[in-house]
């Protein structure tokens, strides 16, 4: 199942730079040469990745040296969350990976719930699964639209964003917000699922495979696309594991690893889906992995819908009033509810002391939340393991033996969101 890599040879034939793994150094013969031009792909650049700065040494058209400078979007999430109660903290993780936002919410909420040892109702977990898979489709659509745009296939951008608008309509139908929905709460969901959601979601789910066929028809066998992406930015399986890659980047390098299948959370062990794995580790394979993943996410959403449609009227949030806000109708009649509401909103619920690391499979890879609690109402330390941070560590390895035009393709295929990288 998982590729067992021979550990003793992990560095034989590796393409990871020797001195510093994340900086591609100039080869010795070019060090004093005058033909090397250092170009700064500054934080503001035409490609749509956000504020990534690449300092690239060019020898003619070849990339001979590269290093990435990040930190232009460092927001201090971890420090800010240390000063907010858990209930208020839920709005922060979404802004970290602002393309797959509900996955970040999910990982934080799961971490708090596991420290609290709470049981979340089934309806909430199935809905969480559905929304996270829709978010995965959303994230891969943005990846596809923007990387195709950068390589010149501009029409992909329009098509992908058309589907994306439908997904955002679904989010707005359920949660009231297009992006950054804050729908997952500690204990379940913030509100019940509105009644018109299931037919709308079905319509989307029925349409999506046709849209994916359209995209495939545009790009899969397109000679220009193939020439620009096949064989570009290779990352071998051993290098990918050594560099800590997860998610589509790892699966495109031939390692069969998916946290949804191998360490199931929510109800992923009860749904049927395939995990696409491709062997080559180049840009084309990463593209194919993400295309297939969209189809698989569609299947998962369909299965979640089947289950959820039978769950009308079930609770959507846990009943523990010490942690979860009581419903508003009760506030008018019950004194205890009023007190609970007051205590939870002002002081916050307390989480038992301990540390926990929870990981989920976000669209970018393994997204994790390390939470240390001291028993008080505010987290002591929150750390998010950002898959884009780790993906950008692979730029130096992937940019070996590439041309400057491939640089854009490679950085796009690693699918790094700068909010996730810089946190």
């Amino acid at each position: 199942m998982a590729t067992v890599v021979d550990k003793t040879q992990i560095y034989e034939g590796t393409r990871i730079p020797e001195r510093v793994p994340t900086i591609l150094d100039l080869p010795p013969e070019l060090r004093d040469s005058e033909d090397v031009l250092q170009v700064n792909f500054g934080p503001n650049h035409p490609s749509t990745h956000g504020v990534l700065r690449l300092i690239v040494d060019l020898h003619g058209e070849e990339v001979v040296g590269a290093s990435a400078v990040i930190g232009y979007l460092h927001t201090g999430f971890e420090k800010t969350m240390e000063s907010k109660t858990y209930w208020k903290c839920v709005t922060y993780p979404e802004r970290i990976d602002y393309v797959g936002y509900q996955n970040n919410e999910l990982v934080f909420v799961l971490a708090v719930e596991q420290l609290l040892e709470m049981n979340v109702p089934m309806k909430a977990t199935w809905m969480r699964m559905l929304l996270c898979e829709l978010n995965r489709i959303h994230s891969h659509l943005i990846y596809l639209g923007t990387s195709a745009l950068e390589l010149g296939a501009i029409s992909m951008f329009w098509y992908c964003f058309r589907e994306r608008e439908t997904i955002l309509d679904l989010f707005e139908l359920v949660t009231g917000q297009r992006m950054h929905t804050r729908y997952f709460q500690v204990g379940g969901l913030a509100e019940d699922i509105p009644s018109g959601f299931y037919p709308e979601c079905r319509k989307f789910v029925e349409w999506m495979p046709h849209a994916l066929d359209d995209y495939r028809g545009l790009l899969d066998k397109n000679q220009i696309w193939l020439e620009r992406t096949v064989g570009v930015g290779k990352l071998s399986a051993a290098d990918a594991i050594a560099l800590g890659q997860t998610g589509p980047n790892l699966r495109a390098s031939g390692v069969d690893w998916d946290l949804r299948r191998d360490q199931p959370y929510l109800h992923y062990d009860q749904v049927d889906f395939r995990v696409p794995v491709y062997p080559n580790g180049d840009v084309y394979d990463r593209y194919r992995v993400r295309m297939d993943e969209m189809l698989e996410s569609n299947r998962i959403v369909r299965q979640c819908l089947d289950r959820l449609e039978r769950m009308e009227g079930m609770p959507w949030i846990a009943d523990d009033r010490k942690v979860v806000l009581p419903p508003r109708e009760e506030l008018h009649t019950s004194m205890e509810s009023l007190i609970h509401h007051f205590k939870i909103v002002t002081e916050g619920f307390r989480v038992p002391a301990g540390e926990i690391y929870v990981a989920i499979e976000s669209p970018r890879g393994e997204s994790g939340c390390y939470l240390v609690s001291d028993g008080g109402p505010k987290p002591w330390r929150v750390h998010f393991r950002a898959p884009s941070f780790v993906a950008l560590e692979a730029t130096a390895t992937c940019l070996r033996d590439t041309y400057v035009a491939d640089l854009i393709a490679v950085v796009g295929s690693l699918d790094a969101v700068m909010g996730d990288t810089d946190r």
Partner: protein, 199 residues
């Protein structure tokens, strides 16, 4: 000069600023109008026909600069998409070079490390230039009140329009852009002439 009878208050909407008229017809002069100087409105906003024509042309093709930083950038990308089509305003050509751009839409939170490139890009833009602070993070630091986020991008660049929400819906961003167009058509000078540019 006899100041006995109060002068009739001239409002921006009398100069054609549509949104003021639509929103709140009976409201008194706003802070903005007072900052312009109600007495000097005539002098400040009186436009010749040539100026009106030039301004009309400028608003119909005000090209934004690709300055997407964070989540608001995703919503900015979605106004270029086909549902909220920005091309109807002539603005779908996002120029990557600030030398060719008129409008800087600061979309997203600005870290202190990014403040310097932001200011450099603003300086590289040629006049007339406008800045829209999109989202609460650009307007005022948003939910991030900490050591690393600039509490409002107007600390380093003069801002014309502030758009709240986190992130603004594409319609909200378009409303901001339309108000900017109207303000420019009515004759209001860009922010760097009103407020001055911080050095």
């Amino acid at each position: 000069m006899a100041d006995d009878e109060p002068k009739p208050v001239t409002r921006l909407r009398d100069y054609g600023l549509q949104s003021e008229r639509l929103l709140w017809p009976t409201k008194g002069p706003s802070q903005f109008e007072e900052s312009l100087g109600v007495d000097e409105l005539e002098r400040a906003l009186g436009l010749t026909t040539l100026e009106k024509a030039v301004r009309w042309a400028q608003t119909k093709s005000m090209w934004p600069d690709t300055f997407g930083l964070a989540c608001c950038a995703i919503e900015m990308m979605s106004i270029v998409s086909s549902r909220y089509d920005l091309a109807r305003f002539g603005m779908e050509a996002f120029r990557s070079s600030p030398r060719q751009a008129d409008l800087l839409i600061v979309s997203g939170r600005v870290a202190h490390k990014m403040a310097e490139p932001l200011r450099q890009i603003y300086d590289q833009m040629l006049e007339p230039k406008w800045v829209i602070a999109m989202g609460v993070c650009a307007s005022s630091g948003g939910m991030f009140n900490n050591y690393t986020i600039l509490q409002g991008v107007d600390r380093i660049v003069p801002v014309d329009i502030y758009i709240p929400f986190c992130p603004p819906r594409p319609e909200a961003l378009m409303e901001g852009i339309i108000r900017l167009h109207e303000a420019h058509l009515a004759g209001i000078p860009p922010a760097y002439e009103r407020n001055g540019v911080a050095t």
